[in-house]
């Protein structure tokens, strides 16, 4: 241990050095004045200082605080060696930053014992200093890792900005990472999907599940899956991924193109509340399923809640963090309070709700993540035409002769070809139905001359099918052509189907099919699913148009 001895009396220094060497401290340095002590200390970094009080240039009382000030964070013991023995002087030794004192002439045994006691304290201080350094290192490393993960989250958990005008929401995480999740996406058939979810716990561990959920959600939304299927897929993914004690409460909402037809899947979230324009609760969508990531696929229920709301109604969803937030007296906010706020001001924004929540909790920081999202029912038609579509016009012609017709149904291939173009997938289900109707009408009635009246009798379906198969096998001369023309400027897709048959009296056919009939529904469907239908020539050609 390096010991610095500061005394202007050389005899005293000699005695101390001698005594220390005898006690196993050979590494001693001497300074004969306060100034020399300070400069020497800078150079040798002593581990303990024996300091005389009375010196000529500056007293030990002045030197002690300066010595302390120029050392690093590790404890530097300063022991005063003093001839003064009045109470005040001894107290002052400690007041100015000294750690102990020994009276002159000093007692060797006591001085040696004090030195070793202070050496132990210094050792402790050194250890805690090193541990502190380590902690700082780890904290920096964790912060760096959080930054990286935050970056990845920022890029992976994304939402569709064009939906922003339709949803009012706010998320307030309890820590850097949010265990709550809000995802939204436009559906392929107009309409929109959103998901409000809450992983067990909060912070990074809770947030990590957001990555696979987000990716799967957007992929499924773009395919137009039902909220049940979305939930089932998320459940399966999370069941594999999450540890047994972690799960994901989530509510999935699909709003159809008209903006008022709601489909809701609630697994473990608080009630979603539907308010009318006056602010009264008109429906509660309570959780009907266990949170996701718990049950096996075959244990899961399938019930979706469906509701036909009206324009101006408002669906409010929030995470349990919101209703469980406490005021300083430990009273929970509760769902009732939120209902009161909306009743008092029907058009209250989510931001205003959060202001009220903050007032309620009186700024105590929340212990859980808070999320609230509000959707006010309105037409989503404008949204439908905002999808980006391929800027390239195209013209596809399919000409099928008898042998190609026998090969089988071309409808799926036609639909796939068109839907592989950017932005066209939105049409896929409508397009399938329409092309299928038109092609099958051309084939069954135009080319094969089958009469749907056959389907009247209960077994007519099979009879019709058999006759169709039979006539198809015998077919030798026939032609069906399909032409699909896409105009990216007008955003229109025109489909023309023509067959080699004699045509039919389409004026007669356009009357509505009755609900009881098992046939004749096709053209009515086509008319509803497209933007225009027109029969041409003798009725053996038909042209339909979609606004994309």
């Amino acid at each position: 241990m390096r010991i610095l001895i500061v005394d202007d009396d050389s005899l005293n220094r000699f005695l101390l050095v001698h005594m220390l060497e005898q006690n196993g401290y050979p590494d001693c340095y001497e300074a004969e004045s306060g100034h020399e002590a300070l400069s020497l200390a800078k150079r040798i970094q002593p581990e303990l200082v024996l300091l005389d009080v009375m010196m000529e240039d500056m007293s030990g009382f002045e030197v002690a605080p300066l010595l302390k000030a120029q050392t690093d964070e590790i404890y530097l013991p300063i022991i005063f060696i003093t001839a003064l023995d009045d109470e005040d002087s001894l107290v002052r030794c400690l007041d100015v930053g000294g750690d102990d004192f020994v009276a002159k002439p000093f007692n060797k045994t006591i001085l040696a014992a004090k030195i070793s006691a202070h050496a132990r304290t210094r050792e402790l201080s050194k250890k805690s200093y090193e541990q502190n350094q380590q902690l700082i290192f780890y904290r920096n490393a964790v912060e760096r890792e959080h930054k990286i993960v935050e970056h990845i989250f920022g890029n992976a958990v994304t939402n569709d900005n064009k939906l922003l005008p339709y949803l009012d929401f706010k998320l307030l995480p309890a820590t850097d990472f949010n265990g709550d999740l809000l995802l939204f996406s436009a559906g392929p058939n107009g309409g929109l999907y959103y998901l409000v979810g809450d992983f067990t716990g909060h912070g990074l561990a809770a947030a990590i599940g957001a990555l696979p959920v987000s990716q799967a959600f957007h992929a499924m939304a773009s395919k137009g899956l039902s909220v049940f299927e979305m939930a089932a897929t998320l459940n399966e993914t999370l069941l594999k991924l999450l540890p047994g004690d972690m799960f994901f409460a989530a509510a999935l909402v699909h709003v159809s193109l008209c903006g008022t037809r709601l489909e809701i899947w609630n697994s473990g979230m608080p009630d979603l509340l539907l308010f009318n324009a006056e602010g009264d609760v008109i429906e509660r969508f309570s959780s009907q399923h266990m949170a996701l990531g718990i049950l096996d696929a075959d244990e899961m229920g399938k019930e979706i809640q469906r509701y036909q709301s009206t324009v101006g109604d408002r669906l409010l969803a929030f995470s349990d963090g919101v209703i469980e937030i406490m005021d300083p007296e430990q009273n929970m906010l509760s769902e009732k309070q939120i209902e009161h706020w909306v009743a008092a001001q029907a058009d209250v924004t989510v931001t205003e709700l959060f202001e009220r929540i903050t007032q309620f909790s009186q700024n105590t920081s929340p212990s859980d993540d808070l999320t609230c999202v509000s959707y006010t029912c309105q037409s989503l038609l404008a949204l439908e035409h905002q999808q980006t579509i391929a800027p390239i016009p195209f013209h596809l012609t399919f000409e099928l002769d008898a042998s190609a017709i026998k090969e089988g149904d071309p409808v799926q291939s036609v639909v796939n070809m068109v839907c592989s173009q950017t932005g066209m997938y939105a049409l896929h289900a409508r397009l399938f139905t329409v092309v299928s109707e038109l092609y099958n009408n051309a084939l069954d009635h135009g080319v094969l001359k089958l009469d749907s009246a056959l389907k009247h009798s209960p077994d007519g379906f099979e009879a019709y099918f058999d006759l169709r198969t039979q006539r198809l096998a015998q077919l030798s001369q026939a032609e069906i052509s399909m032409t699909l023309t896409f105009d990216p400027v007008k955003r229109s897709l025109i489909i023309l189907v023509r067959d080699s048959g004699p045509g039919f009296d389409y004026q007669l056919r356009l009357k509505q099919a009755s609900l009881e009939d098992c046939f004749g529904r096709g053209i009515q469907l086509v008319a509803e699913l497209t933007d225009s239908v027109q029969y041409l020539d003798a009725g053996n050609a038909v042209e339909v148009m979609f606004n994309v």
């Binding site: 289900a429 099918f465 699913l529």
Partner: protein
């Protein structure tokens, strides 16, 4: 390819799961699926969770099933419809003939 079928434990409820494409090509499979081993069946459910595409012949097949089983089966349900399929059922006003969910 036959369609997936499920019976409840008491054999009173039959669920038929339709394929991804539900059109006239399925007429025979569908007939077999709803009409075999149904002595005790009182309720038939058509599960459309897989079905992405449907046309008017599928609608006809559903109505035909109802006609063939009427007097025997009292409840007909259509479940797990995707939005685009639901739209077709709504246009055809099938909600008047089936319990759709």
């Amino acid at each position: 390819m036959s369609l997936e079928r499920k019976f409840s434990a008491d054999k009173k409820q039959l669920t038929v799961v339709a394929d991804e494409v539900f059109d006239f090509g399925k007429v025979q499979d569908f007939r077999v699926a709803f009409s075999t081993d149904i002595e005790d069946v009182e309720e038939v459910t058509i599960d459309l969770h897989k079905t992405d595409y449907m046309d008017s012949s599928a609608l006809g097949m559903l109505l035909n099933m109802q006609k063939l089983l009427s007097g025997k089966v009292s409840t007909f349900k259509i479940t797990n419809t995707r939005p685009q399929v639901l739209k077709i059922l709504q246009i055809a006003r099938f909600d008047k003939k089936f319990e759709i969910s």
